[in-house]
Symmetry: C2
C-alpha cells in the first residue's frame, strides 16, 4: 500500500481512549463533543481499578497491556484518560508504540491551570498515585517556573463519584476536610482526577467564587485534535461511532459510567474483554 493510501486507511481508524474505569468517560464526553466526526474505542480496565493507589510499575504494566488490546483492534491514536496512568505510564507506552500518537491528560490539565491562574498559586486535587508521582507539579512548573503548586490527595472523592453522590451533606463534609486548610493565595484548582468533575459543584462551592476550577477534559480534547491534524490522521469521512470495552462487570460500567458520560449506557453495549 502506498504512503497516501496507508495514511488515509489509518485515518479511518478510531481514536483509542483508555482509563482504569469509568472516570475517563468525562474525557470521552469532551472528545465526542469536540471531534464529532471521529470514531472512538474506549477501554475501562474495571477489573483492576483503581490505579490511584497502586505503584508506578504496576500502573505502567497494566497500561501497556490495555494499550496492546486497543492497538490489536486498530487505533490511530491513544488518549490516556486516566490521570494516574498519564502521570506514570506515558514513557512506557511511547516506548512500546513508537509510531502511535499518545496523548495524556496531565500536560493539557497543567496548561489549563496556568492559563487560568493570575497568582501562579495552583492546587492540584488528585488520587494518591498522581500526587505521589508529582507529574502535575512538574508539568505546571515547566510551563510557569515561578508557580507554587500544592497537591492534595483526595481519595474519598473517587468513592463519592463512583457512588453517584455529587451533592449533599456527605460530599460537603468530605470537601470541607480535604480543602479547609488550602492556602488563601491559591487562585486556581485543578481537578486532577477524571472522577472529580462529577463533584465540581460541591468542590467549587467550598473553594469560593474567587477561585477558578479547571479540569483536563476540554484541553485534552483540543490536544487530541491538534495531534490528529499535525499527523494528518483526522477522518476524511463521517464517523461518530463509539464502542465501549471493559475488563469486568458490564452492568456496573453501564450504571456508573452513564453519570460520567452524561447519557445512558446499555449494559449489552459494553463488550467485556480479558487482558
Amino acid at each position: 500500500m502506498g504512503g497516501a493510501a496507508e495514511s488515509e486507511a489509518r485515518s479511518e481508524l478510531p481514536v483509542g481512549v483508555f482509563d482504569s474505569g469509568v472516570g475517563g468517560l468525562t474525557v470521552l464526553r469532551a472528545l465526542i463533543s469536540d471531534l464529532p466526526h471521529e470514531d472512538f474505542l474506549y477501554l475501562g480496565d474495571t477489573a483492576r481499578l483503581p490505579y490511584g493507589t497502586k505503584s508506578a510499575e504496576t500502573v505502567a504494566r497494566y497500561s501497556v497491556r490495555s494499550a496492546e488490546a486497543l492497538v490489536a483492534r486498530g487505533i490511530k491514536a491513544l488518549v490516556v484518560a486516566c490521570n494516574t496512568a498519564s502521570s506514570t505510564a506515558l514513557p512506557a507506552l511511547r516506548e512500546r508504540f513508537p509510531r502511535l500518537p499518545v496523548i495524556g491528560v496531565i500536560e493539557p490539565g497543567a496548561r489549563a491551570a496556568v492559563d487560568a491562574s493570575a497568582t501562579g498559586r495552583i492546587a492540584v486535587l488528585a488520587t494518591e498515585g498522581t500526587v505521589r508521582g508529582g507529574a502535575y507539579q512538574r508539568a505546571i512548573e515547566a510551563l510557569r517556573p515561578d508557580a507554587v503548586v500544592t497537591q492534595i490527595a483526595c481519595q474519598i472523592f473517587v468513592a463519592l463519584a463512583e457512588e453517584g453522590w455529587s451533592e449533599g451533606p456527605a460530599v460537603d463534609a468530605v470537601a470541607e476536610r480535604y480543602l479547609s486548610h488550602l492556602d488563601a493565595r491559591v487562585d486556581t484548582v485543578v481537578l486532577g482526577c477524571t472522577h472529580f468533575p462529577l463533584l465540581a459543584g460541591a468542590i467549587a462551592r467550598r473553594l469560593g467564587s474567587q477561585r477558578r476550577v479547571v479540569d483536563s477534559a476540554e484541553t485534552t480534547a483540543r490536544a487530541t485534535q491538534r495531534a490528529l491534524a499535525t499527523q494528518q490522521l483526522a477522518r476524511t469521512t463521517r464517523g461518530g461511532r463509539v464502542q465501549l470495552l471493559a475488563t469486568d462487570s458490564p452492568e456496573r460500567f453501564a450504571r456508573v459510567g452513564a453519570r460520567f458520560l452524561g447519557g445512558s449506557i446499555a449494559a449489552r453495549a459494553v463488550e467485556i474483554i480479558d487482558l
Copy 2:
C-alpha cells in the same frame, strides 16, 4: 513419612490468611489474640483491590491465585478474611485444595448476628459485591429461617477506613446517608466488610444504643481454632510468628494496615510478591 509424623510436621506450618488488601488485618488481629501459639502468613492482594466492586468470576480467579501462592509457601489452613471472596470464592477454593481447611468470614459473622438478635431483623452492611452475592442473607436464613435480612451496600465506608477517617463530620454524614432509612425494628447490624470495624464507633452512634453491632473477626478466629482442633492441626510447639505479604505498595500497606492491625508495621517487613 508416617501419618503421625506428617500430621505433626503439618501442624508446625503457619495458618494462611488472605484478603484483597489491608482490611483482613482486623481478622488477623483477632486470630493473633485468640491463637497466640500459631504462626500466620498473611497475603493482601493490594495490586488488585478492591474485590468489592468486581464480578464473582474475577474474585474467584484472584482468590485461587492468591491461595496458590500461600499453599506454595506451605500453610496448614486458609482463612479467607475478605467478605467478598468469602461470599463468592469458597467453592472454587475448596475444589482447588480439597485437603486444606478453608474458613470464610461469612458463616461466623452470620452466627454472631443470629446469636445477638432478639427480633430476627438483621441488617448487613457490606460492599457492593458482598450484597450482590447475598451470602450473608443466605447464611443468616440458614441459621434462623424466620430472620428478616436487610442488606445495605456501603462502598464509601471502605474509602473512609482506608483514608484513616474513623471519626468526624464526614464519617457521620456518610453514615447518616447510608443508615437513616433503616427499619426501626432492626436490632442487630453486621459489619460485613473487614474495613468497617474501623468505623464501628460512628456507625454504632448513628444506629443508637438499642441496636447491637457485630463483626466476624472474633467468631472467625474461634471457627479457625475449632477447625485446627478438629483436624489435629493445632501447633504443639510455641510459634507466634507473623509474616506479611502484599502484591503491591509495601509503604501503603504498612501505613494503612497499621490502623487495621492495631500496631505499627514497618514497610521493610512487608514482602512483595507477584501473582
